[in-house]
């Protein structure tokens, strides 16, 4: 799936982007506000989509002075489907968090980084994970390796994207900080912590 816009797996048009914006708020928005929140510079395409969605009853339109305001009609039969589509990225993070929290051999830290964390990937993007192994666990421990393999396979089944796991031991973080500044910079800027210490606290403690 496109990790920046997972809903395009089902609806690969501007409609899904507009619906994802409207699903994110109960605040009535102008067409221009919807366009800005989708990241579009052109308002015309968004206006056409809104008109069509109003015809289907999935979006409600009201007048406020000279402006037209739009909201998602959350009582529409299709509204729950829209909410599921709009929440796919959050659902991916929740599933990863749930799976990692059930590990018998607890990780010191797990985070998502790279394009998935930044929200700018595509269908070919790997889903990058940073995993810190406790020093007491050997890197070839069968139970530990199975956990990582299961995580990678699950992510691929959930998304169609390959999971790429960068793994290090707790005692190697200091060396990583000195040697691989690009991954450290990415971790500091964008990583989403899913288990263990917050990423910035972990990096700053070294």
């Amino acid at each position: 799936m496109d990790v920046s816009q997972p809903y395009t797996a089902i609806c690969p048009t501007l409609d899904s982007e507009v619906l994802a914006v409207l699903a994110g708020t109960t605040r009535p928005l102008t067409g221009r506000e919807v366009a800005r929140l989708t990241g579009r510079t052109s308002h015309r395409g968004v206006a056409e989509v809104l008109t069509r969605l109003v015809e289907h009853g999935l979006v409600q339109r009201q007048e406020a002075g000279r402006a037209l305001l739009f909201t998602l009609n959350r009582e529409h039969l299709a509204a729950p489907a829209v909410e599921v589509l709009a929440g796919m990225r959050a659902e991916l993070i929740r599933r990863i968090r749930d799976l990692v929290s059930a590990w018998k051999m607890e990780a010191t830290h797990v985070s998502i980084f790279g394009s998935t964390a930044r929200g700018d990937g595509g269908t070919q993007s790997d889903i990058d994970l940073f995993v810190v192994r406790p020093d007491a666990v050997s890197d070839d421990d069968p139970q530990w390796r199975k956990q990582l393999d299961d995580l990678a396979e699950s992510i691929e089944r959930w998304t169609g994207n390959r999971a790429s796991i960068a793994e290090t031991a707790g005692s190697e973080i200091e060396r990583l900080l000195k040697q691989d500044r690009s991954i450290v910079a990415e971790l500091r800027t964008d990583a989403i912590s899913v288990s263990g210490a917050d990423i910035s606290a972990l990096l700053d403690s070294e």
């Binding site: 994802a20 699903a23 994110g24 708020t25 109960t26 605040r27 009535p28 928005l29 506000e33 800005r36 929140l37 990241g39 009201q62 406020a64 305001l69 909410e83 709009a86 929440g87 990225r89 959050a90 993070i93 929200g119 989403i192 917050d198 910035s200 606290a201």
Partner: protein, 139 residues
């Protein structure tokens, strides 16, 4: 229908949402550090003040991302109305923010001596809001 309080809000971008969330995380991190320094009233009051700042910054982040607007300056009611409009979870976030802002209001009357129990509550509300803000940015 919720009233649009346009004059009490200002436009903001997704980049600002990321910046405000980074602020919120740092405020909360420092709040927790200070809270662990000791039981002195000065420490707990300073930690609570930072927790309030964390909550406000996290709410701003969520609003910038979902609504493209955040509240202006000191207008608490606008801030509560706005964050309540974020879906899903805006209702709970608004309640957490309301409790933090009550603490902040008390500070204006020189009542910002925060007990251990109040500090724990403030840190919990701030954590709720930081997690909420992160969740909105991760949608």
């Amino acid at each position: 229908m919720t009233a649009r309080a346009a004059t009490r809000t200002q436009a903001c971008s997704e980049q600002e949402a990321k910046t405000r969330l980074a602020h919120a995380r740092k405020f909360l991190e420092v709040a927790e550090l200070v809270a662990n320094q000791g039981d002195d009233l000065e420490y707990s009051s300073a930690a609570a003040a930072l927790a309030v700042l964390a909550g406000i910054a996290a709410s701003d982040a969520a609003c910038c991302k979902a609504l493209g607007r955040r509240s202006r300056g000191q207008d608490h009611r606008a801030a509560l109305e706005l964050v309540e409009q974020v879906e899903p979870g805006g209702g709970n976030a608004s309640k957490a923010l309301r409790r933090l802002l009550t603490l902040k209001d008390e500070a204006h009357y020189g009542l910002f001596d925060v007990s251990g129990a109040d500090l724990k509550t403030a840190l919990r509300q701030a954590r709720t809001l930081v997690d909420f803000g992160a969740g909105v940015l991760n949608r």
